[in-house]
Amino acid sequence: MKIVVCAKQVPDTTEVKLDPKTNTLIRDGVPSIINPDDKAGIEAALQLKEKVGGTVTVVSMGPPQADAALREALAMGCDEAILVTDRAFGGADTWATSSTIAAALKKLDYDVIITGRQAIDGDTAQVGPQIAEHLGIPQVSYAEEIVEAEEGKLVVKRQFEDRYHIIEVKTPCLITALAELATPRYMTVHGIFDAYREKEVKVWTLEELKDTVDMANIGLKGSPTNVKQSFTKQAKGKGLYYKDLSPEDAVETIVAKLEERHII
């Protein structure tokens, strides 16, 4: 089974803080990580390979420094890594990102494509389903478990808010991974050594994709959506604030307010 995983390098947003003076993001020193849902996807791909045999290729679109994320994927055990990078791809929204990645995937043989459900920097969950549409293959998103796998077919547990579906899907197909899909393994020392000494990260620029990419559909110009403005959120004004109340007085204050608001 030929398995391809799409992974994104993201800033660890749980570490991103606001500068209280300028109200801008402090990105200095914020570590870059493999997006957690994508990392679960890498692990699921490796487990799938261990079960049914095959290869795992990891593809990332991003700036040159995304090399580090791909090396980590190789160290986890992926067979091949491809970095899709070119200034022409920059400034892309989800539509242009998905058509660029789809153009890269068209150059690969695949039975199963796994993407993370969503990335923690954008939280859109759009790129996976959009890639599936560009490739004309079925998608199963919100995958919680791969229940069965054999050549030509997967059975996937697909999560909803109020239910789940057990879905049988023929390959080729795309699934989007929830973090619950698989707990990523740690890199081994041997794996890290191999990732930097033995294995290579292939770099695909616009030149490599020229047969499969439509220039009108990439980068900033190929993006239907644009950011009009971005801003830090205005905090809701601070309300009443009491610092030195006894528990009894605190209770009295809360009860009085709840009565005033007709909640009691």
């Binding site: 749980t14 991103v16 989800t94 969950a125 579906h165």
Partner: protein
């Protein structure tokens, strides 16, 4: 020319989902700004009688595709139906709930019709941009970087302009039974090939699952409550207020309470009448999910906890000392009122 504001009215097992009605409520404002109509899209099997409810909540027209293929949600048949409706009617705007259905369907459709899609919007307005002063655009505002930044997105040249909106963010209009509208049957020629996956089994969730987005009162616990046992005390407080217990990510990650109770960026967005944050510090990801609550009470021992910046009433103190007394006091006060 593109026109009208379309809303996917999501249904599950023939029951309309609240998010669809909320979006219709918002769509009536957008349509009024554009001088256009609100059209609800209803996809399912044996669901045509629900169209009236959508009209009563603000839809001018309902486009119904009633077909056994659409009984249970599967991406391709739903995407095909929507794509054909969009091709035929050329909507100006299409809105979806940011649910596990909307977030699967909307991107698939956006790729098919070649248009932009903005995820998880918290604010929608009609306005213009400097480059196109004469074109009324949908201004779509959404959080990014875990809620640290807000961005307003536009889709200038492609139609329809599409967005997903989380449940609980917009407000549904009150039902008006006198309201009239048009119901249009829309035929889609499905073939067997459209069902490109096979559902082997549908397992519905435990009916005891609590929907915190529906609650009027939420008593929410964080790591500051000290132990999972204290959720029982929060439950007692919730009970006297007719509310439900929710939690911060810290409490959920500690395994103290189920994930379906989690409020915040990676949990649910809530807007109850009362949100009481007990021992919750108020990380920006948490605040993103509850700041629209009508009234916020925060109790925390840390006097600089960020939760106090959004609280209408902030009390520096120990929840363990305050909550049981508060439950008692409220129960007593209610009994007094009942006796009057």
């Amino acid at each position: 020319m593109s026109k009208d504001v379309y809303v996917l009215a999501e249904q599950r097992d023939g029951e309309l989902q609240k998010v669809g009605l909320e979006l219709i409520g918002k769509a009536t404002e957008l349509a009024a700004d554009l001088g256009q109509q609100v059209v609800a899209i209803l996809l399912g099997s044996g669901i045509k009688d629900k169209a009236e409810i959508l009209i009563q909540h603000g839809a001018d027209k309902v486009v119904v595709v009633d077909d056994p293929m659409l009984a249970e949600y599967v991406t391709e048949p739903y995407a095909k139906a929507l794509n054909e409706i969009i091709k035929k009617n050329d909507p100006e705007i299409v809105l979806f709930g940011a649910t596990s259905i909307g977030r699967d369907l909307a991107p698939r459709v956006s790729a098919r019709v070649h248009t932009g899609l903005t995820a998880d919007c918290t604010k929608l307005d009609i306005g213009t941009i400097d480059a196109m002063p004469d074109t009324k655009l949908l201004l779509m505002t959404r959080p990014a970087f875990g809620g640290n930044i807000m961005a307003t997105i536009v889709c200038k040249d492609h139609r329809p302009q599409m967005a997903t909106v989380r449940p609980g963010v917009m407000k549904a209009l009150a039902k008006d039974e006198a309201r009239k509208g048009e119901v249009v049957d829309f035929k889609v020629d499905f073939t067997d090939a459209d069902m490109n996956v096979k559902i082997r089994e549908v397992v519905k969730g435990d009916s005891k699952t609590v929907d915190i987005t529906e609650a009027k009162v939420l008593i929410s616990g964080g790591r500051g409550i000290g132990s999972p046992d204290f959720f029982e005390k929060l439950q007692e407080l919730a009970d006297v207020l007719g509310g439900v217990v929710s939690a911060s990510r810290a409490a959920v990650d500690s395994g103290w309470i189920a994930k379906d109770r989690q409020v915040g960026q990676t949990g649910k967005t809530v807007r109850p009448d009362l949100y009481m944050a007990c021992g919750i510090s108020g990380a920006i990801q948490h605040v993103a999910g509850m700041e629209s609550a009508e009234y916020i009470v925060a109790i925390n021992t840390n006097d600089t906890a960020p939760i106090f910046d959004v609280a209408d009433l902030g009390i520096v103190g120990d929840v363990k000392a305050i909550v049981p007394k508060l439950t008692e006091a409220i129960a007593k006060r209610k009994a007094e009122k009942a006796a009057q």
